[in-house]
């Protein structure tokens, strides 16, 4: 029983070879319940993978992220950024793992997951995980669950920006690192609908 040793996860959906770069972007708009299940294997030396995702919920959506980033070869680089806003009675789960195999030296892997909870009924659960079996690595993850900063809101309102507008700006800036190019307007509209 138990599993204290390195066990390679099952083969992923994406195999990234040496010199290749994988870019994935996801947008989950209000009203959509989605399961995003991703597994990436960085199998070639120096392969790269970058994942960006955002979600916006305002009713009873269920959004699940399950991401496994598996570093199998040396010198690979991966980043993950998942930001979102949960309103209504939405339920959001984030389960993200970075696995660094014993031979994957000189790995750089970063993962970030930031969530804002707008209502009392909304629920956010986040499980960022690191499993590291090599030593020459730079790995970090960060996860936060919180609310819109009241100081920022006050700053904008004291300068004559109406509350609703100020909140929209705050949310927009919170999501901006993960908004795909060219979809800014669509997402701004979605934020206004929250």
């Amino acid at each position: 029983m138990g599993h204290g040793k390195y066990i390679a996860p099952p083969r992923g959906q994406y195999q990234v070879l040496s010199g290749e770069v994988l870019n994935l972007e996801f947008v989950v708009l209000p009203g959509e319940s989605r399961d995003i299940d991703l597994s990436v294997d960085l199998v070639g030396e120096g392969a790269q993978a970058h994942i960006k995702a955002l979600y916006l919920c305002k009713a009873d959506e269920k959004v699940n992220f399950r991401i496994c980033m598996h570093h199998c070869a040396p010198g690979c680089h991966s980043t993950q950024k998942i930001n979102g806003i949960a309103g209504g009675s939405a339920q959001v789960h984030f389960d993200g793992t970075i696995v660094v195999a014993p031979e994957a030296q000189q790995t750089e892997a970063y993962q970030e997951n930031h969530n804002i909870v707008l209502t009392e009924e909304a629920k956010v659960e986040t499980r960022p995980q690191l499993e590291i079996y090599a030593d020459d690595v730079k790995c970090s993850h960060g996860a936060t669950v919180g609310q819109l900063n009241p100081d920022e809101l006050f700053y904008m309102r004291s300068r004559g920006i109406p509350e609703a507008e100020a909140r929209t700006l705050q949310m927009l800036s919170f999501l901006s690192p993960v908004i795909p190019a060219g979809r800014g307007e669509e997402i701004e509209k979605a934020i206004r609908s929250l």
């Binding site: 138990g2 960022p128 690595v137 669950v145 609310q147």
Partner: protein
């Protein structure tokens, strides 16, 4: 510099120095675990009927439970019938009040002062537990003058049955988990501590646990109750002889913190970690939990984990009282074949509750070191706040460092932050030290101590020096 150099020198040559065996006559009960054994333990300890009932009830629940296997550990099969559940040094009939000189010598060798006059100016009251029984508790009279009760668990059952009955299993129920249920069924001795309303405990209280007998397990139980507005700082230390068999240690610690009370709980865990090939060592499977019951209460955990072949331990706090606060500071070192799965749970229930987690893992050799944590923000945890930081340091390319935090928020005004990093000691840092004439092993010691400083600085003075030395010993031979 010369002082710390001396410490490093002294300890890089040392192995596990607490690994000796005390040759003392002991009485055992037969091997194995069943209701008759539990009745026998209870009879031996002259316990009241309600406590026997509690034990039997826990045992029946335990029988129906599967052993958990979710931890990131390579756990060997434990044969629960192959363990002696009670072992006690025989008392000399001629002078039953005094401590056996051999036991006194043992604790002396371990640096635990059992004679009150010998204690330092910064006094510490000690409850010394040898296998299944408490050998002595010092400074009881001085403490009693202030109304503080500090004694062994067995004595507490006899002298303060109402208090024990009121608080026993109120934080960790008998059926909480597999190992807590086992402990509730067979627990032998441990410490009991009660600080009355408004009293500030004048000295550090401490328990020292020693496993000596072969083939036994230690199952101690500690209960700390801090009444309104009181303060206590409590320390715990432990060692065991070097053996090539695995020995089981399954303890339960419960802490109740009432309104405005403040409890500081520190552990330096130095059970025998097994030899360099992973043979022997203690299985340290412990349940520790405190509850901040009243508003404004405060509980702080500090742990330095260097020993044990396997550590499975999650000191947790339930933040029930409004504006209560809790902290968890941990350094966990694993070397050779050691495995550790340790962390904390912060359950925020009350308004404006606050918690802070700082965990520093260091893995070397072929060890596996995991942080596992939970931060839960309940529906009513308005404006609650948590900050967690979990760093891992890897020394050598065959070890593993893992982080498994879970954040669960059900409250829009609560804020949770979690941050984790994993890295190795950088070549630059080592080069800097080497260039200045500090050898590689000393340099690692220096860097590790700096890395763990934030946690070490939280330890009571008596422990801080010991912990610093321990870090050195634990990492001995991990470089070069």
């Amino acid at each position: 510099m010369s002082e710390s150099n001396k410490i490093i020198q002294e300890f890089t040559s040392a192995e596990y120095k607490e690994g000796f065996v005390t040759d003392v006559e002991q009485e055992f009960i037969p091997k194995g675990l069943n209701e008759d054994i539990i009745r026998l333990i209870s009879r031996r300890k002259e316990e009241p009927a309600w406590l026997l009932e509690f034990r039997l009830d826990a045992f029946r629940k335990w029988q129906a439970m599967p052993q958990p296997d979710w931890a990131h550990l390579d756990m060997p099969e434990i044969d629960f019938q192959d363990i002696i559940y009670y072992a006690a040094p025989k008392k000399d009939k001629d002078r039953p009040k005094e401590i056996d000189p051999k036991l006194a010598e043992t604790f002396d060798k371990l640096g635990i002062p059992l004679r009150e006059r010998e204690a330092l100016a910064g006094v510490v009251a000690v409850d010394a537990v040898f296998d299944s029984v408490s050998v002595t508790t010092t400074f009881r009279k001085t403490l009693a003058e202030k109304g503080i009760i500090f004694c062994s668990f067995s004595e507490a059952v006899k002298e303060h049955p109402d208090l024990v009955r009121q608080y026993l299993a109120s934080v960790v129920p008998a059926s909480d988990n597999f190992f807590a249920a086992l402990n509730s069924a067979v627990f032998s001795d441990g410490s009991f501590c009660y600080i009355p309303k408004g009293v500030r405990c004048p000295m550090e209280l401490s328990s020292y646990f020693r496993i000596n007998a072969r083939g036994t397990g230690q199952f101690e139980r500690t209960l700390i109750v801090a009444d309104e507005g009181s303060y206590v700082s409590y320390m715990e230390g432990c060692t065991a002889p070097m053996r090539d068999e695995r020995q089981l240690h399954a303890a339960v610690v419960e802490i109740v913190v009432e309104k405005d009370a403040d409890v500081k709980y520190s552990t330096v865990q130095n059970w025998y970690p097994g030899d360099a090939d992973g043979k022997g060592g203690i299985l340290n499977l412990v349940t520790k939990r405190g509850i901040c019951k009243g508003s404004g209460s405060h509980l702080s955990w500090t742990q330095v984990e260097t020993g044990s072949a396997i550590t499975w331990k999650y000191p947790s706090t339930i933040l029930k009282g409004d504006f209560s606060a809790s902290e968890f500071y941990s350094v966990a070192v694993t070397n050779n074949h050691q495995q550790a799965d340790t962390g904390t749970k912060m359950i925020h229930l009350g308004r404006g509750t606050r918690s802070r987690i700082v965990s520093k893992g260091i893995s070397a050799g072929v060890s596996q070191n995991s942080y596992r944590g939970l931060v839960r923000m309940g529906r009513n945890a308005l404006n609650a706040r948590n900050y967690s930081q979990c760093d891992s340091l890897l020394i050598g390319s065959r070890c593993g460092a893992h982080t498994f935090p879970v954040i669960h928020s059900q409250c829009p005004s609560a804020t949770v932050e979690h941050e984790a990093t994993t890295s190795k000691i950088s070549e630059d840092q080592l080069f800097y030290c080497n260039q200045r004439g500090i050898g590689p092993e000393d340099a690692v010691g220096l860097i590790v101590n700096g890395y763990a400083r934030e946690v070490l600085s939280r330890l009571p003075m008596e422990f801080a020096v010991e912990a610093q030395k321990l870090l050195q010993v634990s990492l001995e031979g991990s470089v070069g």
